[in-house]
Structures are given as structure tokens and as C-alpha cells.
């Protein structure tokens, strides 16, 4: 930060007014570093200025980054009304710029002793004859605004006045710069606080966008989240103009500047995005022509891009004035993005935790209800058996057919109930495997003995690699899973066919869907048949619970297989060709 330069101040003669000015200057400077400019601070600074140069009234006007206008932020002296306080000086248009606008554009002070003949003057008050105006510059010499003071006397101001006002404007520059840093710091802390306390991701992003756009002065701020299934960026939150688009997919991964940021995990900062080859020009806050500086940073957590936060400004129509995003802007936005990343990760973790608690409550509930249902079914079975005995004991000559039918039907119903119960239990228990090193071929033989029919039209084609390493198995559960696949294969070939079972060793990485390979070496087990196979459109659905094309059971069969395989840290897939037959593959890590 540059300290005000007092060396060229007019010290001689030291009048009361000069002494007063020096006192004011000192007080205000101390305050600028401490407080930052409130409206009151700028007004007092202005009053000190009016007093120092002997003017009548004056105003502070600050540059608005997005619109390129000068807005009056503090006024002093007589005759101010709400209306003239609301004066806006258009920097972009020459005729309406005024002396103040001119000063901001040139970055130099300006003095006139006869406004009626001045080429820049725009009249606000009738009595003005002289006007003096000095620019307020940031520490990086960016124009922040202007301090302008008038007088009804002609030729009221001289170069000494100019020097005094310049000193004050430097104090204002320091104060505004300090304030800018404070605002950002405060906003960042606010964002941090917001994020730590929030679990709802949507709510959280809304709040961040709101704070970022107002407090950080990123006028138009939008936040996109990456949908992993579709690889689309979805607009999640925006500071206003795109509000109706929230929730809609906006860019494919890699598409447009925003998509590029998501794909590459790196920020983009450009002054004229339209000139960029990656520019796509849709889903923007304002029309193509109006878009100026563009800044987008990725939201990253654990090396994974979760989304993009993007800010835009309107194009500056004044060639002298650049409203490009600075290094500081990019740093601030990156900080915000990394905070969001961490917060989203937190929210997801907590979500997972809550879900797993719910799941364990659900497991407990289902275990209890299955236990009770099982007991009832057992008791009913006893009654049905008794019914059978009683029917047998009916006196000779009684027609027993109807009784036997009812008894048979009851028995079937109970058996069906028990099948459902078993399927349900296997589904719930599928995930809880106790793994012991086993010979997988032995488990295959045992399963076949239990499930493969002795007399059948279906041929068994067994192709086992006899030299397989041991794998960790829950024998009972694994046999249940394999048995399910075998029974499935048989049931889909009512007119005969074959069931192929092979085991082999696999020594390279595999990748199925989202799952990463967990081991270098696998034992792969395949169950194939000559049934109708699985249609391509159903391949990702068959392992979901309750998905079935058979009438038997609840439709939990393949989801039980999947649960068992996953609890063995293995992978399961179906790669058969529809019309040729099904091919289920189980990969178990060695």
C-alpha cells in the first residue's frame, strides 16, 4: 500500500486552514487503516476537502465494475436532494461523462474556473462556477472513483488545492483498498461458516453464490455440479439472471469454457471469452455481446472434479478502463471453490453415514419380522400336517378328495411363503460373509451335487482349471450364489440345452463399471447357458432387487448373487449375447 505523498504540499504560509487540513489528514489516514470507509468516513473526508480548498459542496463517486457507471457514494454541502444524489455518470458515453467521469478515465486531476465554457461539465447545480476533481486510485493504480468539489466563485481553485485534495484522495484510495480486502476476508470467513454448518448441498451452493456475488463483487456468479452418470454439468445455483435454468443440464464435460474447466480441473481467466476457440456462448447470464471478463475455477475434492464455479462481468465499453479479473480474484474464487469441495465431501460422507444407520435399522427390522413370519409359517405347517392326519382318520366311506385338495393347497401356500422367506433372508444376509480360504472347484462340485438335477435333458459342460489358487470364500453363501445361477440357467431352458461351468485364473486388471480392480490376480468363474440370454437394455437392471422375468420368487435371486459376490470383494457381470445364451462371470480376488 502506498503511503500518501505529503512532500509537495503547500506549507507556506501556514494558515489556520492549512493546520486544520493537516490535522484532518492525519486523523483520517490513521482511521483509514483502522476502520475502512463507511459512508460517514467518506463524508468526513469530503468535508475536510471542502474546508481545505474553500469549496461549497462536493461528492465522492465510485466506479461500478459491472455497469461502468459512477455512483455517488457520499455527498457534503448544501442543496443535495435524493434526486441529484442519484445522479449516475456514464463513463462509456462521452457526452454524459462529466468532469468527474473524465478525471476517472484519465486518472489525473482537473480544475476549471469557468464551468459554463467547460467541454466536460455536466450541470447538477445552478450556482456552480468553479470545479475541482481528483481521481481515487487503488494500490494497483486502478481507478476506484473520484472526489469532486465545486464553488460559486469563478477561478476558485488553484494547483495548491489540487495537491491538498490529491492527498485526501490517496487516503480514500488506501481506505477503499483496505476495505476491499476486509470485505473479501469477511466474505470468505462467511462462506467458510456457511459451509461448515450446512449439510444440504443445494442450500449450501445457493448461499455461497449469494455471498460470492455480493460480498466478493463477482456480479454474476453461477455454480455448476457435475452429474457423474451423464457427465453433464448441471446448473445448481446462480446469482439471478439464469435462475429459471437451475437444475437443467448446461454443458457436457469438456464442452465450452465451463466444460473445459470441469474436464481439465484447471481454471480459465480471459478478458474476451468470445475470442476463445473453446467458447460456446450458451447458458450465460447476459447476451453474447455484453459478456466481458470470464473467470471459472473447478470445484475439486480428492482429485475429483465435482463442478465449476464461474463469474462473469459485462464488457467494459470504455477502452481506458479494464474490469478484467485479477490474480486476487482468481485466488479468492479458488479458495471459495476448495471450501465448497471440502464441504460437499463432508455432506456426502454424513449422508452415507445416515444411510448406513438407516440400513442397519432396516436390517434389524427385517431380521425380526422374518423371524416372526418364519415362526408363524412353521406353526401353520404343523396344523396342516395335523389336518392331514385327521383326514386320514375320517371314517371309511367319507369322500376325502375335497379335504385333501385343501390340505395340499395349504401346504403349497406355506411352502411358497417359506421360499419367499428364504430368498428374503439370503438377500439380507448376502452382504455378511465370513471368508475362509477354500478350493473353489470343490465348492463348485458341492453346489452341483446339491442343485443340478440327476435326470435332465440339460447337458452339464464342466471345464475346471484344476490348478487354481485358493480364494477366500464363505462356502455356504458362495454355494447359494452359484446355485442361484445354475438354477436360473436350468429354468430358462425348459426344452433342454446346456449349463456350462468353467473356472480359470486371470492375471490382468479388469474394470467393470465404476468398480476398480482390487487385485492383480483373479479366479474367474463362468456360468453359461443356451437360454434366451439377457437383452442389452436389461443388462444393467438384472442385478437390481425385485427385477424378475420369472414368476417364481421375489426377484431377489440375482441381487443375492451380486451381494454375495461383492461381500467376497469380487465382481459380477453378464456378457452373453441375447438370443444365444446368458454368460455370467464372477471374478474373485486371490
Amino acid at each position: 500500500m502506498t503511503a500518501p505523498d505529503f512532500s509537495n504540499l503547500p506549507f507556506d504560509p501556514i494558515t489556520d486552514r492549512t493546520q486544520q487540513f493537516l490535522r484532518d489528514l492525519n486523523d483520517l489516514f490513521v482511521e483509514a487503516g483502522r476502520e475502512g470507509p463507511t459512508g460517514d468516513f467518506l463524508r468526513r473526508l469530503l468535508e475536510a476537502g471542502i474546508h481545505a480548498v474553500g469549496g461549497k459542496r462536493g461528492f465522492f463517486a465510485l466506479v461500478q465494475n459491472d455497469t461502468g457507471e459512477l455512483h455517488l457514494s457520499a455527498v457534503a454541502g448544501p442543496d443535495w436532494t435524493d434526486q441529484n444524489r442519484g445522479t449516475r455518470l456514464q463513463l462509456a458515453q462521452e457526452e454524459n461523462r462529466g468532469i468527474s467521469g473524465h478525471v476517472v478515465m484519465m486518472g489525473e486531476s482537473y480544475v476549471t474556473g469557468d464551468v459554463s465554457h467547460d467541454q466536460y461539465y455536466v450541470r447538477i447545480f445552478d450556482d456552480v462556477k468553479s470545479e475541482i476533481s481528483v481521481p481515487i486510485l487503488s494500490n494497483s493504480s486502478q481507478p476506484l472513483g473520484v472526489m469532486t468539489i465545486d464553488s460559486p466563485e469563478a477561478d476558485r481553485f488553484d494547483t495548491d488545492d489540487c495537491a491538498r485534495l490529491t492527498a485526501l484522495s490517496q487516503v480514500a484510495g488506501v481506505a477503499l483498498t483496505v476495505q476491499g480486502f476486509r470485505d473479501r476476508e469477511k466474505a470468505l470467513i462467511n462462506i467458510g461458516k456457511t459451509l461448515t454448518g450446512m449439510l444440504d448441498v443445494n442450500n449450501m451452493t445457493d448461499k455461497v453464490v449469494q455471498i460470492a456475488s455480493i460480498a466478493l463483487r463477482f456480479e454474476d456468479c453461477s455454480l455448476f455440479l457435475l452429474d457423474e452418470q451423464t457427465n453433464m454439468l448441471i446448473l445448481r445455483s446462480t446469482s439471478g439472471r439464469l435462475a429459471s435454468e437451475v437444475g437443467k443440464p448446461s454443458y457436457k464435460l469438456g464442452e465450452g469454457l465451463t466444460g473445459w474447466v470441469a474436464l481439465n480441473g484447471r481454471p480459465i481467466r480471459v478478458e474476451a471469452p468470445q475470442d476463445d476457440v473453446r467458447w460456446l456462448g450458451h447458458m450465460n447470464e447476459f447476451s453474447d455481446d455484453d459478456i466481458g471478463p470470464f473467470l471459472a475455477v473447478p470445484i475439486i475434492s480428492r482429485n475429483k472434479t465435482l463442478g465449476v464455479i464461474r463469474v462473469l462481468r459485462r464488457k467494459s465499453h470504455a477502452t481506458w478502463y479494464s474490469n478484467r479479473f485479477t490474480d486476487v480474484d482468481e485466488r479468492v474464487l479458488s479458495t471459495v471453490a476448495s471450501q465448497i469441495g471440502v464441504a460437499m465431501e463432508n455432506a456426502r460422507n454424513i449422508d452415507r453415514l445416515v444411510t448406513s444407520q438407516r440400513m442397519s435399522a432396516w436390517g434389524e427390522l427385517s431380521a425380526r419380522s422374518a423371524h416372526m413370519i418364519g415362526n408363524r409359517a412353521f406353526a401353520l405347517k404343523g396344523d396342516v400336517n395335523e389336518l392331514g392326519y385327521l383326514i386320514n382318520e375320517l371314517p371309511d366311506g367319507t369322500s376325502k378328495v375335497a379335504f385333501n385338495e385343501i390340505s395340499q393347497s395349504l401346504g403349497n401356500g406355506i411352502e411358497r411363503l417359506e421360499e419367499i422367506l428364504r430368498e428374503f433372508r439370503d438377500f439380507v444376509m448376502a452382504a455378511q460373509s465370513q471368508l475362509i480360504s477354500e478350493d473353489i472347484n470343490r465348492a463348485i462340485h458341492e453346489t452341483l451335487k446339491e442343485t443340478f438335477p440327476k435326470r435332465t435333458d440339460i447337458e452339464l459342460r464342466l471345464l475346471l482349471n484344476e490348478k487354481l489358487p485358493a480364494v477366500k470364500l464363505d462356502n455356504r453363501k458362495f454355494k447359494r450364489a452359484l446355485g442361484e445361477l445354475i438354477e436360473n440357467a436350468i429354468s430358462y431352458q425348459p426344452n433342454g440345452g446346456f449349463v456350462g461351468i468353467s473356472s480359470d485364473r486371470l492375471n490382468h486388471d479388469i474394470r467393470i463399471g465404476e468398480s476398480d480392480a482390487l487385485a492383480q490376480t483373479y479366479v474367474v468363474l463362468e456360468v453359461s447357458d443356451a437360454g434366451p440370454g439377457v437383452p442389452y437394455e436389461s443388462k444393467d437392471k438384472i442385478f437390481q432387487p425385485f427385477y424378475t422375468s420369472r414368476t417364481k420368487g421375489m426377484g431377489l435371486g440375482l441381487s443375492i448373487v451380486k451381494g454375495v459376490v461383492e461381500s467376497h470383494h469380487g465382481l459380477l457381470r453378464e456378457i452373453g449375447e441375447p438370443g444365444v445364451g446368458a454368460r455370467f462371470q464372477i471374478f474373485l480376488p486371490v
Binding site: G374, G382, E386, R425
Partner: protein
């Protein structure tokens, strides 16, 4: 006559098992909890030949308590544990602690009552042979006990 105790907290199941086993010619008592079972076991002389007990009643593992009480009263009493909803871990534990066998209540397509009746008959057989073996041993020991006495005389 062979005596059986059935322990289950469900009256319907107690009755169904009782009816079924009485058809086999056994004398059957029933109890609705591990506590009630213990009272009957303590009061029974000669002791029950076979106890058929549900695993989860007052507690998840009440069956283990019945098992312990029955064996403590008479080491030759055979205990069959029945479980609903495949409480396999407890069933295996009961085998480890000396149960004769365990039977799952719900096995689709299998008449579990028939199965229980069959296992009870096996348990009876085992009990008989164990008792006979021990009696014979006792006789041998009794004879060998007398031998030194006769020498000393």
C-alpha cells in the same frame, strides 16, 4: 416310556410339535420359556430323554440355556435345537456345546415336523446306546471294585 420336553414360546408350535411327537408314541411335556423348562427338567425323574428347544425365546440364545440346564441335570439327555430365520451362528454354538443336532424351522419343500420326529428317534437311539455303554462300564468297574476287597478278605 420315552419322555420328551418341548420348549417354545409360541403356543401353536408347542401344540403342533406335541401332537406330532405323541403320534410317535412319546410322552410329551411342554414349556414356554427357558425358565419354565428348567423347573420341569429339575423336577423330572427319571430325566427327559430328549429336549426339543427353540433357540430364541426370552433371549436370542435362550436355547443355549435350556441346553445347559438339561445336560447339567442329566448328561445323557439329548437336546435338539430348532431355529427360525436361520440363526446359524447360535445353532453352531449349540452343537459345540453338546447339542444332538439343530433343525431350521423353515426349509421350503421339506416337512420339518417329519424331520424333527426323525431326529428325535435318532437322539433316542443315541441316548439308549450311550446309557447302555455307560451301564456296562459301570458294571465292569463295579466288578473290578469288588475284586480287591475279596483279595483282602
Amino acid at each position: 416310556m420315552s419322555k420328551i420336553l418341548i420348549v417354545d414360546d409360541e403356543a401353536d408350535i408347542r401344540n403342533a410339535l406335541k401332537r406330532r411327537l405323541e403320534r410317535e408314541g412319546y410322552e410329551v411335556d411342554t414349556a414356554e420359556s427357558a425358565k419354565a423348562a428348567d423347573l420341569l427338567i429339575q423336577a423330572q425323574h427319571p430325566s427327559y430323554d430328549v429336549v426339543v428347544s427353540d433357540m430364541s425365546m426370552e433371549e436370542q440364545d435362550s436355547g443355549l440355556i435350556v441346553l445347559k440346564d438339561a445336560i447339567a441335570h442329566d448328561i445323557f439327555t439329548e437336546v435338539i435345537v430348532i431355529t427360525a430365520y436361520g440363526n446359524v451362528a447360535n445353532a453352531v454354538e449349540s452343537m459345540r456345546r453338546g447339542a444332538f443336532d439343530y433343525v431350521e424351522k423353515n426349509v421350503p419343500g421339506i416337512d420339518v415336523y417329519e424331520l424333527i420326529a426323525f431326529k428325535v428317534s435318532l437322539a433316542m437311539e443315541q441316548r439308549r446306546s450311550a446309557v447302555t455303554t455307560v451301564r456296562r462300564l459301570e458294571e465292569v468297574v463295579a466288578k473290578s471294585d469288588k475284586l480287591p476287597e475279596s483279595i483282602s478278605e
